[in-house]
């Protein structure tokens, strides 16, 4: 059964068709959510919310774009929303740096490297960070990123390049 048929079946209330669509896309959505949040619990919640939102709005999906692009668009939006909420809460209750330190167990050099790179990634503007993670970590093509984020392909390339340049600056400073 192809995706269009699965979607029609889901709209008719077929749970098995829903599960099939979910199985095809959930692992990648979860991986992306985890890469963007570094938190298993939040990644799990975001994946769940993504599919709940997608299924509840499936009647609006006109199948002009691939289902995969559509579900990733919802996923990125859901994750960014969760991260903003989390950042607001973190600003109120706990220092982010302190929270990061809890997970670090490597040698002091590696600890500093990971901590600096992660801090630099967190400090990137959201639009650069999202493009960088999708491209460099999750292996999305610039065309796919452009589709998901509704931006031109050239903009995706620029964002990834600028994000890398920022991170290189951070690493160069660490070497000095």
């Amino acid at each position: 059964m192809n995706e269009a048929q699965l979607i029609t079946r889901v709209l008719a209330g077929d749970r098995l068709a829903g599960r099939e669509l979910y199985d095809a896309h959930a692992p990648q959505v979860f991986r992306l959510a985890y890469s963007m949040t570094r938190d298993e619990e939040i990644a799990r919640e975001c994946t769940q919310d993504t599919f709940v939102r997608a299924f509840s709005k499936l009647d609006k999906f006109r199948q002009e774009a691939a289902f995969s692009t559509w579900i990733h668009r919802i996923a990125v939006s859901t994750v960014l929303e969760a991260l903003r909420g989390r950042r607001r809460a973190a600003a109120r209750f706990v220092s982010i740096e302190a929270a990061h330190d809890v997970h670090v167990e490597e040698s002091s050099r590696d600890v500093e490297l990971v901590s600096r790179v992660e801090k630099a990634v967190e400090e990137l503007p959201e639009i650069y960070r999202t493009a960088l993670i999708m491209h460099d970590l999750e292996g999305y093509t610039h065309a796919a990123i452009a589709d998901v984020l509704s931006i031109p392909e050239g903009t995706s390339k620029t964002r990834v390049a600028q994000a890398r340049a920022k991170l290189r600056e951070t690493l160069a400073a660490l070497r000095d």
Partner: protein, 287 residues
Amino acid sequence: MKFSEEDGASMEEEHLDELIRNTLAESRRSPEPPLDEMWAHIERKAFDQAPRRATIVAMPAHWSRWATPAIAAAAALVIGVGLGWSVAPRGSVVTRVVTVPAQSVATIQSTEATHAETPANSRANTDANTDANTDALRKNSQAPHTTLAHATNTPSASNRVVQQPVIALLANRFDDSEGSDVSRYLVRTAALLQALPADRTTTKSDTAIANRAAELLTQTHLLLDAKAGSDPTLHRLLEDLELVLAQVARLRVQQSGSDLQLIHQALAVHDVLPRVHDATVEANISD
């Protein structure tokens, strides 16, 4: 084989990029997704709601004793309201009273009248108020909501009552039609913010941008008052947009490069454009 300095720099960059990628891949390696556990939650939320809707139709027999008169009363109410709308004089029901702070009225008026047409006294007052507000905005850029509230609640800004034509989005619930109004508004706002020049260049287009910002600012106020504004995420975004648009609208009266810098800063610090994009997706998720 010789390497130029440029080749060396490029190799160094590639090496650093790889190191960054590896570091991130290591620290952000995803665990196995708990597929079944997540599906149980999704199934409950996405599929178990349909039968619940069905139970409203399949009413238990003992309910029909009181439900039938209640439905009849509701139907009579709907018909009554419909009749009321149809027989009321034109104009009396197609207007809605909206309370707008004087500051907002000044902004609305200034979009309609050109600066030259404004009487000297009132122009001076408007400029003075706007200057005071902008100063407050600058001083308080970390707390835009408070600043704006302060600016519109000063004793001098006594509230006036303005009659506005009913706008469908105000009268309706936040349904598909309002969603598309919000979506249209967000798309227009995003286009305006993206069209902002990076630095101070006094051109005719600056005035056009400022005028459009004033128009969108009015729409922002209306949306904040509407049902759409009761959604907390959208409300926060509208409040941030209100602040930014107020600053952009001021570009037409003050020619200063620092104003533009402040606007770009506000856009970056509050992630305004990505949030506008997300809200647009949310208002109308479609392919």
